[in-house]
Amino acid sequence: MGGKSRKSGGVSRQLINSLKGGNFTTNNEEAFVKKGKGSKVKPDAKNKQESSGFGLISKED
């Protein structure tokens, strides 16, 4: 999972704090922009799929 880096340095504290504050990037760490809530919807039951072990099956509740 992920991949081995071509550059040195780990994840910056600034990036972690920014993410934990609900900010997400558009292109790079400096370009973090606070997005308004509700730009994407919380999933409702229709969009959920329950693990069946045999492919995705829509949840019926």
Binding site: G3, L19, N23, T25, S52, F54
Partner: protein, 274 residues
């Protein structure tokens, strides 16, 4: 060196040439991943190169067969980050281990038959029993991105310095629309995010790119892996390339116990003076 516009030649030609040459694509060789990396494309004496952070990512790819016959490697970069099976390297390059690549067969996870699967069979049920919850699969695009960002921030914090290239992962997840990224969340019965995972494909493998699980919840990783292989990979005939271990012994131990059909070594190559 002739600089070319990425839009003129593009990653598509680079990948097509690799396919034409019958090289086996590595974990890093997918359109979706490379779109997130945004490497620089150059042509050097007929060889196509992809460079990221000043590092040549793959062996240069001949634009056409004449380039292969001429075999002029003089302008190749001194260091090549990740090789690919089927690519024959020049004699004056020596290899260094980069990482592993784990290949899994989704069918194995549906059957879970045999003694070697006993531990996963047992452990993959423990999380659901302990938390009295199922894992629901939801498309990443249906999740509030702020909620997703908070989860990723907490996950990265738990990884300390063990995770690499977070910026690429964020590009991959947050700019993924229509670029071959298949991303999902797994929620518990209370609709809390318990995992974020994503995969893409090339012409040979499904690349299981990212799998983040809620930190501190024992046996969740096993449960999520099982749902991924049984449900999200159901019906796919390709093997899954689960990437490497990024020098993490615990991750290697975990992936070894998932019974890969193959554990390959990927190499970097460095020119030496003859």
């Amino acid at each position: 060196m002739q600089k070319i516009n990425k839009n003129q030649v593009g990653l598509g030609l680079f990948l097509k040439r690799i396919k034409d040459l019958c090289w086996v694509p590595s974990f890093y060789c997918s359109r979706a991943y490379l779109e997130a990396v945004q490497p620089e494309l150059d042509i050097i004496n007929g060889w196509l190169t992809l460079t990221d952070e000043g590092v040549c990512m793959f062996p240069p790819v001949p634009m056409n067969d004449n380039v292969i016959y001429e075999a002029d490697y003089s302008k190749w970069p001194d260091f090549i980050w990740s090789d690919m099976e089927g690519c024959i390297m020049p004699d004056n390059y020596q290899k260094e281990k980069l990482d592993f690549q784990y290949l899994y067969d989704p069918d194995d996870f549906i059957k879970l038959v045999g003694k070697k699967w006993a531990i996963l069979r047992k452990n993959s049920k423990k999380w659901e029993r302990r938390h009295k919850s199922n894992l629901m699969i939801v498309s990443w695009s249906d999740i509030d991105p702020e909620e997703g960002a908070v989860f990723i921030g907490e996950w990265l914090e738990s990884k300390a310095d063990d995770f690499q290239d977070a910026d690429i992962m964020l590009n991959y997840l947050f700019q993924s629309d229509g670029k071959g990224v298949h991303a999902f969340c797994m929620l518990d019965n209370n609709e809390n995010i318990k995992a974020i995972l994503a995969y893409d494909t090339n012409w040979t493998y499904v690349n299981f790119r990212y799998c983040m699980t809620k930190p501190g919840e024992a046996f969740l990783a096993e449960a999520v892996r099982l749902v991924f292989y049984r449900d999200i990979m159901f019906g796919k005939s390709m093997l899954v390339n689960d990437g490497g271990v990024v020098d993490n012994p615990q991750l290697e131990w975990f992936k070894d116990r998932l019974n890969p059909v193959e554990k390959k070594t990927v190499y970097s190559w460095r020119r030496f003076d003859e």
